[in-house]
Structures are given as C-alpha cells and as structure tokens.
Amino acid sequence: MTAEVNSAPAREIVLVVEDEVLVRYVISDYLRECGYKVIEASSADEAFQVLQKASIRVAVIFSNVQLPGAIDGFALAKWVRANHSEAGVILAGTVSRAADAAAELCEKGPMLSRPYEPQAVADRIKRLLAERKRT
C-alpha cells in the first residue's frame, strides 16, 4: 500500500481509536506512510489516557463509533469537543441511526462508512487540518 498523494508536510499527530487490531494496524500504517505521527488506541479509555497527556498534542482523532466498554465514539467526540476543542474529530462506523449526531460531531460532513478506503481517511484528515489552519 502506498501513499503518494497524501503526503503531510508536518508530523501532526493523529490518534486512531479502533478496537479491531488489524483494521487499526492497516489504517495507522497508511497514515504513517502519509507522514503523520500516529498513536494507536484500542478503546476510548486508552484514547483518554493519550489525550490527558499534556506532552502529546493530538491534531486529529479518527475513531470508530462502536467501541468496547461504556464509552463509544460519539461520547469520545463529545468529550473531545468539551475538553480538547483544538483537536478535530472524524468518526467512522456503520451506525445509520446516528447520522444527525455524526453530522454534529464531525467537522467535515457525515462520518465515514465502514469499510473505508485508507485514502479516503487521509483525504478527510488533510481537509480537516487545512480547514483548521485557515480559521
């Protein structure tokens, strides 16, 4: 898998929150090839630990909607909005009921449908970061 189109000039940090190890591995490796520094979290709890570390400045959180445990991707996105508004959130999932919630929580349109193409994720991250730099 190559990532020629989505080269990122800076080592911005993307936090990938995904409980399926192979899905997490594939998208994380792809985003690393795009030039991002990627942190992998297997649950919302792990994501919180990363986000609460002051020395780690996460630019984008890319999270599955459905996660094990009490906190799903929507709840994680709400927490990020309240506590780390500097970070953008992109959600991915197959939950159709949540279109409104996703539109509210994701900053660039509705959430990505699973399964997704890694390039689509990289494109969405790139657009989100560009948008944030303009504002």
């Binding site: 190890v21 192979l22 997490r24 591995y25 994380s28 690393r32 942190i39 992998e40 979290a41 297997s42 649950s43 792990e46 630990q49 990363v50 570390k53």
Partner: protein, 143 residues
C-alpha cells in the same frame, strides 16, 4: 533511522523484521513501538494477548513478539508464549514484567526484561536475536 541493514532479517529479500508489541498500557506501548519504528522495524501494536493471537493467525509474518506478562483478557503473556510455542515456533518471544517471572514449560521464551526497561536494550536484544534467525514460516501454513 540507524543501522538499517542490520534490521533487515534477510537482506537478500529486502524484508524488514516485524515486531509485534503487546501491552495493555497504551503510553508504554506507544513509547517502545515508536522507538522500534525509528530504528527501522515494522511494528504492529496489540493491546492484549487476544489481539496478538489474532495477528499471529493471519499471514502477516511476525519475527518477534515483545509482550507484557500481566494483561487483562482471556490470555496473558504466558498464554501467548504458549500459543507461539505450539503454532509459530520460528517467532521469537520476549517477555516483560514489573516482577520477576518464571516461565512454565511449554512457553516460547527468548528473552526477559524487567519493567521499567531501557528501550535501547530492547532494540539491541532484538537485533541480536534476529542475526541468526531462520526464514520465517507463516503461521497459517502450519495450521
């Protein structure tokens, strides 16, 4: 990236050694995984032994498993080492733990590091393990 040539397991095939890092402490896992990537290894992160077994059951060749002993879930690091002994004997296993652990019989065990460990020591040890490694059989071929 340093000593790239020594990281390659079989330079004639231009293959990079893959290390599966298994730890339920996300910040610790991140730290050692990033260090290994900086050193030129291909790294897969697993948050527990069940995830690690899921990776080992694919055709992804894993040369070294660096795993914590104490982890939540159905299987701990010892159980993972047992699985590898039974199903992937060419994969090297390094255990890490906050306390000294005696590995029971039936476990694959190539090294042990007491936590907190020095990442440089882990890198050196993995390189030494891989120097005389044989070409890796893929786990799925053995099933």
């Amino acid at each position: 990236m340093t000593q790239e040539s020594s990281t390659s397991l079989h330079p004639e095939h231009d293959s990079v050694a893959t290390v599966l890092v298994v730890d339920d402490e996300v910040l610790l896992r991140l730290s050692i995984a990033d260090r290994l990537r900086d050193e030129g290894f291909s790294v897969i992160e697993a948050a527990n032994a069940d995830e690690a077994i899921g990776v080992l059951q694919t055709t992804i060749p894993v040369h070294v498993v660096l795993t914590d002993v104490t982890m939540p879930g159905r299987t701990d690091g010892i159980g993972l080492a047992r699985f590898i002994e039974a199903h992937g004997p060419d994969t090297k296993v390094i255990l890490t733990s906050g306390t000294l652990v005696a590995a029971p019989p039936g476990c694959r065990l190539d090294g042990f590091f007491l936590k907190p460990y020095d990442p440089s020591s882990i890198v050196r040890f993995i390189r030494s393990l891989l120097q005389d490694a044989r070409p890796l059989r893929r786990l799925r071929d053995d099933c």
